[in-house]
Symmetry: C2
Subunit: 359 residues, 2 copies
């Protein structure tokens, strides 16, 4: 059994070698921790700043055993950690945070919304379906148009389609691969918001100020934080976050995407049991950012302050937008965060900038 | 020939694997660079966050060749890089910043003060000596007491002694190892200040606000920044910094230690051609800290802003003071920076904290 808090010099395992893993690794290093990554691709962004990079599939038993032996605690940068990996790590006695329940809930959109509604975190109306017929029935019950998404996998707008008429449901079901799906009523929202929240091993919670998000083609482009919001709205979001984290007996940082409806009602769109793109603003807007906060939580440290010390506009650098690094480097208000990805691909998240202004 | 500015994805070499190298490596990673370290000790603090750690002596020709082949530009975390290493790297055509002239001046206390005085950067009166007899003559000329230091090597108060009477000079000379020395008149200073300054490849300079430093037993304990200082004093320090950097055609960050005399006169105590312990406050007090600034300069990027956004008290964690990490982690105003050193030794710099307050 791992004893918490982990002293500096302990080793933190990170499943996933992308930019979130990289920024987690940098934060861990600042606190004196060592990092070991597990990632199938060699030469990964996170692996290159870790003291050791294990190259292997996420569910490779040997790789998981090596990770488990090297690490005092293991965390991850993405929610689609294979169930087999979670089982293997549990059998090896590894300490994994956030825990298996958070992963299970976040991996299945029906389970996720069911959990949320049961814990006082309202969502749009929804229904599961696993056949063309049940899909059509679900659309009929919810009313068209409805958004059909695969129950599992899919991110950044992938694996989802609008069903304009109940009669189209069967066709869309097949177009999504004839896999179990969720149907969601549309949310008539005025803004997309998110809240980054953390919970420590002692149950302490800390919630960052609300952020306002702007997506394009399902991908986050821009976050403004702290979002302009009434005290009542901020308190509502914080209360939702605390209920979700408590309900999962959660340890770590979570990203919670919200819809703001007219009149200030909030619905939870989805939760991510990890650090979140819409929390990158905290790197230059808060004393302790979401990455250090996550490391503090999984290491059993006290959480850091979440108050904003600056106003930030975060812009993702997608694909060849990253080639504008020289221009951004000239802007005095701009902090650059580049991920060390070897290859530019259209739409790929290559980095982000935080434009910082006084509060 | 390396073309500047270096695009993200380029590789920066760092000679030295300690905490300064580690913090440089973390800053480089944030900008999307890869880092390769050269350090004789395996498992070094900097090597553990680098994409590759070459283990070898600083003047090992094979290690230097490997470093040179792997890197687009090479920098260092300490000024006592062996002359043989500089020569070898020059022969290999490596691009090294700061350059050989800055290293040569910083490695010899007589050359350093001679250079400073020639460039309008006043110092205490001094004289070189290389025998018991010339040491006694120097003390007689300067007046006792005088401070005798070895011309080369020595840091954190090591390699220096006070000569109380001219008659003691020969004895102190022998106690310091009968090596060439410098004798310095005492500075009747009211405060120890420092200024961290940067110069880019295009000659652009950027100077951080003055910091006030408190030493114990020759080791920095505490920095307060921005230091309370008149506009005139700040401008005087900045002008000195700009003259020094220009005089060396310098590229990178330099730490300049100053004595403030009664009436606001400033003397330069010493210069360090690298990031400096008294600049650690910039990590949490400025938008771009000294580590990113140094990486920007050596990579040929534009320099970042140096304005303070917070008031910081930096405290070094020496030896077993680092064991108080859990207490510091509880303090909301405190940012922890721990170096990942494997072994606590008395007086060893294990980490530092920045206590942050609004300006």
């Amino acid at each position: 059994m791992t004893a918490f808090p982990l002293p500096p010099g302990s080793t933190i395992g990170i499943i996933g070698g992308g930019q979130l893993g990289r920024m987690l690794a940098l934060a861990a290093a600042r606190l004196g921790f060592d990092v070991v990554t597990l990632e199938p691709e060699p030469d990964s962004p996170a692996g290159r700043v870790a003291s050791r990079a294990i190259v292997g599939d996420y569910d490779d038993p040997q790789a998981l055993q090596a990770l488990s032996e090297a690490c005092d605690v293991i965390t991850y940068e993405f929610e689609n950690v294979p169930a087999a990996a979670v089982t293997t790590l549990a059998r090896l006695g590894a300490s994994v945070a956030p825990g298996a329940r958070a992963l299970a809930v976040a991996q299945d959109r029906v389970d996720e919304k069911t959990f949320l509604n049961a814990h006082g975190a309202p969502t749009v109306a929804f229904a599961g379906a696993d056949s063309p017929k049940s899909a059509a029935e679900a659309v009929a019950a919810l009313g068209a148009p409805a958004l059909m998404k695969t129950r599992r996998e899919g991110y950044d707008g992938k694996g989802q389609r609008w069903v304009e008429h109940a009669a189209d449901a069967a066709g869309v079901f097949e177009a999504l691969g004839s896999v179990p799906v969720i149907l969601e009523a549309p949310a008539d929202f005025t803004r997309e918001l998110s809240v980054i929240a953390a919970r420590g091993r002692d149950g302490e919670t800390a919630v960052y100020p609300l952020a306002e998000n702007h997506h394009e083609n399902g991908v986050l482009r821009r976050t403004l934080a702290p979002a302009r919001a009434s005290k009542a709205l901020a308190e509502k979001a914080e209360a939702i976050a605390v209920r979700i984290l408590g309900g999962l007996d959660y340890v770590g940082v979570m990203g919670i995407e919200l819809f703001e409806l007219r009149g200030g009602r909030l619905l939870v769109n989805e939760i991510a049991p990890r650090v979140h793109n819409s929390g990158h603003w905290t790197q230059d807007g808060c004393g302790v950012d979401q990455f250090e906060q996550h490391i503090r939580a999984v290491a059993g440290w006290p959480l850091g302050p979440t108050v904003a010390v600056a106003r930030v506009e975060m812009l993702n650098l997608l694909g060849d937008e990253a080639e504008a690094w020289a221009r951004h480097a000239h802007e005095p208000e701009t902090r650059l965060h580049l991920y060390g990805k070897r290859e530019i691909k259209a739409g790929r998240k290559m980095g982000h900038v935080n434009r910082v202004r006084p509060l």
